[in-house]
């Protein structure tokens, strides 16, 4: 298992899990339209999600647009 934080909450993902699974875990819509992801403060383009394995202790932020400003 890999222990990560997704949107501030502790989660255990199966060993070898990749970023797209974390995005799904966060509750993002299928395909992640309108969604962006940062791992440890660095943006990861949508195209790289499935090729990005998660490492122990990483902070994953899964964001979308909301009313504001």
């Amino acid at each position: 298992m890999t222990a990560v934080r997704i949107n501030g909450e502790a989660r255990d993902l199966p060993a070898g899990a990749t970023l797209d699974e974390a995005v799904r875990e966060a509750g993002a819509p299928q395909g992640g339209r309108g969604v962006a992801v940062a791992v440890d403060g660095e943006v990861v383009p949508r195209g790289d999600w499935s090729g990005t394995p998660l490492r122990e202790g990483q902070r994953v932020e899964v964001l979308h647009a909301v009313q504001g400003g």
């Binding site: 949107n7 501030g8 966060a26 509750g27 993002a28 309108g34 969604v35 962006a36 992801v37 940062a38 403060g41 660095e42 943006v43 383009p45 949508r46 932020e61 899964v62 964001l63 979308h64 647009a65 909301v66 009313q67 504001g68 400003g69």
Partner: protein
């Protein structure tokens, strides 16, 4: 009769940009955005909420309004830059309303951090629309840094105080080589009219409409107010005079007594 303007290399018919925060629900937001005639509306980037219903993106699309992601909630240049990049990734636009806050009670911008973030984002290819204070020197530095506009506040976000320092706004407008958009502090229609009369190219507001008793009605009032101020400026107002000037002829007055 209001003529559009160029912003970030594109043309807009409406000089009113809507913020989308503070509406009680998406339906009220949709009505108000439509009534405002705005073509551009800001959104914030926040954590995905699985429980959330409705998509603000579809609603704005339906209202014929493009999204402008902001960096609200960022207190450092670094966070603001990352948030801008997340907005670009999520929404497929390289435009950003740049906010770097320096104080959480007043939400006033941090001048040094704002300038640093603007320089970084311009270098990264963004069209940067910075929310700034009414400091004319900072506005100049932001323009020199390559920002596509300067967006000085009238007064703090959501305060509804209007324009606290007309003098600074005047200095900014006189010196600016990019569009000046009054951002933050508008409370009612006359504030927006005054901003346009002062020479602003546009107005950005949220709370004045979203938190009004009747958001759609206030949105329409703001639309008229921006047009009124723009037209009045172009029409060439009369100078202020310290004494009266009769509006009825002084000749031809009868002798009745």
């Amino acid at each position: 009769m209001t003529v559009g303007f160029e912003l970030g290399g594109r043309s807009f018919d409406s000089r009113l940009i809507m913020g989308t925060g503070g509406f009680r629900n998406l339906e009220l937001m949709a009505e108000a955005v439509t009534a405002s005639g705005a073509e551009l509306a800001t959104v914030a980037m926040r954590r995905v909420d699985p429980a959330a219903r409705g998509s603000i993106l579809e609603v704005l699309e339906g209202a014929g309004c493009e999204v402008l992601p902001n960096t609200a909630g960022c207190f450092t240049a670094r966070d603001a830059v990352t948030t801008a990049r997340l907005g670009r990734e999520a929404l497929g636009t390289d435009w950003v309303k740049l906010e770097v806050i320096g104080d959480d009670r007043t939400l006033l911008p941090d001048p040094a951090e704002l300038l640093e973030a603007a320089e970084t984002l311009v270098a990264d290819g963004f069209t940067v629309l910075p929310y700034t204070s009414d400091d004319p020197v900072l506005a100049r530095r932001l323009e020199d840094a390559g920002c596509a506009a300067v967006m000085p506040l009238g007064s703090p976000i959501g305060s509804g105080m209007g324009i606290n320092n007309l003098y600074n706004l005047r200095l900014i407008v006189e010196a600016a080589g990019v569009p000046v958009i009054l951002d933050a502090g508008i409370g009612t229609a006359s504030d927006a009219t005054l901003a346009m009369e002062m020479g602003c190219d546009g107005v950005l507001l949220a709370s004045a409409v979203s938190r009004a008793e009747d958001p759609a009605a206030m949105a329409h009032a703001m639309r008229l107010a921006v047009e009124a101020g723009y037209e009045a400026r172009r029409a060439g107002r009369i100078p202020k005079r310290l004494l009266a000037r009769a509006s009825s002829p002084e000749a031809g007055v009868p002798e009745l007594t």
